[in-house]
Symmetry: C2
Subunit: 251 residues, 2 copies
């Protein structure tokens, strides 16, 4: 499985992905799920992927290989929208190619495609296995792919489009912590990339593993804080809560 999140906020973009893949519990490996296509000063495009590893690797290989040729590619398309179109097209091609046998295997994959190209603002798209896609908006400033449910409540409680990038990074890392604790198929290291709106010379992506001091202190502080809040909640009246039901016991 996989967990990836990307946010499009007023201040810029945040991307994060885990790096565990598995085909059954006895075939677990580490693969990067974050891929960057960048020309410093001109464009920063990041892809996150979930789903069939053969499919996602082929899509990335084909996208990279295109960049050597004259055709439109991620390093020369005029807008992020065109980048999403291209990812969708290639994703469709790869799935069509590999599905020929009809083995019942799920060849599907999802991509989050985000970034900024000089001349337009930062944008973020979610490309579906069918090759079509949606764009993040003010109302829905984030997308998740893969094992998304465990880590969704904290995003829903904390994030909106005005959240500062620093806070957004904290929130995303907590979302990963909750997911990693609840699902063995999502694992460290986390790849993390932050793009401030308009800054086309960003710092390189960072890799966060179990020795990362900041992530350790964040996990610890969050876990302790939650338990402290929990301990101070009003006690549950073990009787007297809610409205008594008039159900007849027995039959």
């Amino acid at each position: 499985m996989t967990y990836c999140v990307a946010l499009r906020l007023n201040e810029g973009l945040v991307f994060a992905s885990d790096s565990r893949t598995n085909a059954g519990v006895d075939h677990v490996a580490t693969f990067r799920k974050m891929h960057r296509f960048a020309q410093a000063g001109e464009r920063q495009i990041v892809l996150l992927n979930s789903g069939n590893l053969a499919t996602t690797q082929s899509v990335i290989s084909m996208l990279r290989s295109r960049c050597q040729h004259d055709a439109p590619h991620l390093l020369n398309v005029p807008s992020l929208y065109d980048a999403a179109v291209q990812v969708g097209q290639i994703l469709r091609e790869v799935i069509a190619r590999d599905s020929v046998g009809g083995s019942g295997v799920d060849y599907g994959a999802h991509f989050l495609v985000g970034g900024q190209i000089a001349g337009e603002r930062a944008r973020l798209f979610h490309v579906y296995p069918q090759g079509n896609f949606i764009e993040a908006t003010e109302d829905t400033p984030y997308f998740q792919i893969g094992e998304s449910k465990y880590g969704k409540p904290i995003l829903d409680r904390v994030l909106d489009t005005a959240t500062p990038l620093e806070d957004a990074v904290k929130c995303v890392l907590i979302s990963f912590d909750s997911t990693i604790r609840s699902n063995l198929s999502v694992g460290l290291p986390i790849d993390l990339f932050t793009l401030h709106e308009g800054d086309l010379h960003p710092a390189a992506p960072r890799r966060i593993d179990e020795r990362d001091v900041y992530f350790q202190s964040l996990r610890r502080a969050w876990g302790q804080g939650l338990r402290r809040v929990f301990a101070r909640l009003p006690p549950a009246p073990t009787s007297g809560i809610g409205t008594e039901r008039d159900e007849k016991p027995g039959h």
Copy 2:
């Protein structure tokens, strides 16, 4: 969809279920998913269910109808184990009966079966659509069925077998709050039932709806507490976090 949780702790059992069912987003209704078979002073058995509503209603009807006859039934079986066996058998029968057409519909359902019968300690089982089942233990003191992922992180962080029932009820209600916020197909009211180990004269199940004062105050205090803890977490260094990656930008 559905969300149900049941816990088997040292102090006793907690059961909670939502009450929303849906067949598509335009066919939403309220159905109780908690059913009790009880003889005050002698046995308290509670069933929670998820899955196909026709299946679960039929299973409950057949279990109730059996109680009118001489055969073994939930009001006379000698142990909770036998209750789980009976639920599994009837579940299998109903699914086999309804699947005859082979329409591609999922007729499956899950049941949590827990309670206490005089002479043995409180027990809790998870009955699968196949009719077999597992029992909660000290290491795994809770089961969830239905839309379980959103509400799992808080259970994993707070609960163990020594958790007092009062705290367990708080934790379960927070787990419901997170699920209800993230998934429209899970909704109030919540049915809640608590059984103290050895007390075979428990208070009736309670129904918690949006006007419930305790639940409102709990949701508010939890949401505020989380945001307070979040605000005090160490700030994310937007640069300098993790180990810089040596990935080459571009192709």
